[in-house]
Amino acid sequence: MTLSTEPQRYLAAQIRWQPVEIAFWLATLLPFVLTPNYLVLASQIAITALFALSLDLILGYAGIVSLGHAAYFGFGSYTAGLIAKWGWGEPLTGLVLAAAAAGVLGYVTSFIIARFRHLALIMITLGLGLLLAEAANSASWLTGGADGLQGVRMWKLFGVFPFDLYGTAAYSYSLVVLFLAFLVARRLINSPFGLALRGIRENAIRMPAIGAPSPAHIRKVYTIAAVMAGIAGALLAQTTETVSLETLSFARSADVLVILILGGAGRLYGGIVGAIIYMVARDQFSGLNPQYWYFWIGTLLIAVVIFLPNGILGGMARLLRSERSRA
């Protein structure tokens, strides 16, 4: 690829890998060395980060607010869990199948999603999420209902690494999948399609007036985000060898929204940073007094929205800019 001209060089500079990004991904390896006792938590963080990344694609880039994103997470989770329960415990193929299943669900529902915006959209995503959670609850012959899906037995990863209590395999597996999904998301965001998504977020009214079929774009990104959420759900099922109704719950949809807003929507790393802060804080606070943990999250959320309207990453970016202009 030759970048002959100034405009191309400018656009290429915008999407170049920054040193801080490389440092960030290297730092994700630190838990293996520094906190080997917390690898289970680390893998949960990686899974939540992937889930938040998938929400970022639709919320942060295309401006689609969803209160029911757990539908795809839970659907992927149950698919992966059931495949393993029915005797095929190989993780990678299970992951692919769960991704495909969530993608199909995402594609089907995207036809409804693409027709609405704003409050109607929030209500529809909420409704879809509740619908699926209740369906899973009532189909207890399949899902185990409120007891959760029992009897999920995963085979060793690549036939070598078992998913054990220490979480070494779990974190390695989740981290690699997260990183690969991140590469896909990064590429998508920097593509012409990603530009079209930002166009929808910036001005949905102008899009048809420049010949853009916004509903088609929304259906596509919604399906991709559903696949990614399904992968996150499948990872949770495989690494914990159980699936509970909580994977489909409204609380999970709300949590992931909070995580993304905390970290900063529309910044790719927002969901990941949000997941780290949220999960570590929950781990620490709930150790102090478990019943009041949401009190602190509520406080944190209000403070961030008031003082850092673009999330923690948005605040840091602003700080950097003002430092630079002062220098």
Partner: protein
């Protein structure tokens, strides 16, 4: 005579008992510059909304060349070569001017659905967008976010976005709205210099500009076309004078 670039037949539209368009028939020949004038509330912007598909007419037909487009969606009409700008800036505030115009070019070239290659790889689209911006004297500011551009530059970006779709027919809704008089002449010089392949219909309140740039003028009052003709005919028309000077028949 060749087929007009744009024509409408018997367009009707009402909101309840309020008639905003009644039996609108117009022909815009290829490459011509027509002005659409009339007092506030005459239905000028409504007519543009009807023609571009942002409003559905109750009755009537719209043709682009010899193709009927009455039932097409707004984005499909743009693909056929019919594009508009907005009276109030309707831009992408946090995209740079270059990104915004590149987006429009990508949509036209069919790149906008592809997500496996990064934007700089589509050099042809970026180059075309940049060339459009340079031709509208926005080249030096094209890397700045839209919301940081001066108001007059944002008005030009409105036109740049429309041009990026390679239109056959361009509908300009008060392109110089809010621009100081000195700069509005500059803006209309840009419009006058557009390719002769593009037919232009523009709404404008400044009569000096209208009489200087329009080949023909369409006068709307109360959702109807009152009269259309050459600038000389319109200047001499008693009914038009009455509307503008008498003010007795506001729509």
């Amino acid at each position: 005579m060749s087929v007009p670039a744009l024509s409408t037949r018997g367009l009707d539209k009402s909101f309840g008992s309020l008639v905003v368009a009644r039996d609108i028939a117009l022909d815009l020949p290829q490459g011509e510059r027509y002005a659409l004038i009339g007092p506030n509330g005459a239905g000028k912007t409504t007519l543009i909304n009807l023609i571009t598909g942002m409003l559905k007419p109750d009755k009537g037909q719209i043709f682009l060349g010899d193709q009927e487009i009455t039932s097409l969606k707004p984005d499909e009409r743009v693909k056929c070569g019919l594009v508009r700008t907005f009276q109030v800036n309707t831009l992408f505030p946090h995209l740079s001017a270059l990104e915004a115009v590149t987006l429009a070019v990508c949509e036209r070239r069919g790149y906008a659905g592809s997500w496996w290659q990064e934007l700089p790889a589509y050099g042809d689209a970026v180059e075309e967008a940049y060339a459009i911006l340079v031709s509208l004297r926005l080249g030096a500011n094209c890397y700045r976010p839209t919301h940081e551009l001066a108001y007059g530059q944002q008005r030009l970006l409105e036109i740049a976005l429309a041009l990026a779709t390679k239109p056959k027919v361009l509908l300009l809704d008060e392109p110089a709205a809010g621009v100081p008089q000195g700069e509005s002449a500059e803006l209309f010089a840009v419009i006058a210099n557009l390719s002769q392949d593009i037919a232009v219909l523009f709404i404008e309140h400044d009569m000096n500009v209208v009489f200087r740039f329009a080949h023909r003028i369409i006068v709307m009052v109360g959702g109807r076309i009152l009269v259309q003709g050459t600038p000389q005919e319109i200047a001499a028309d008693m009914r038009v004078r009455e509307v503008y000077l008498g003010g007795a028949r506001h729509g």
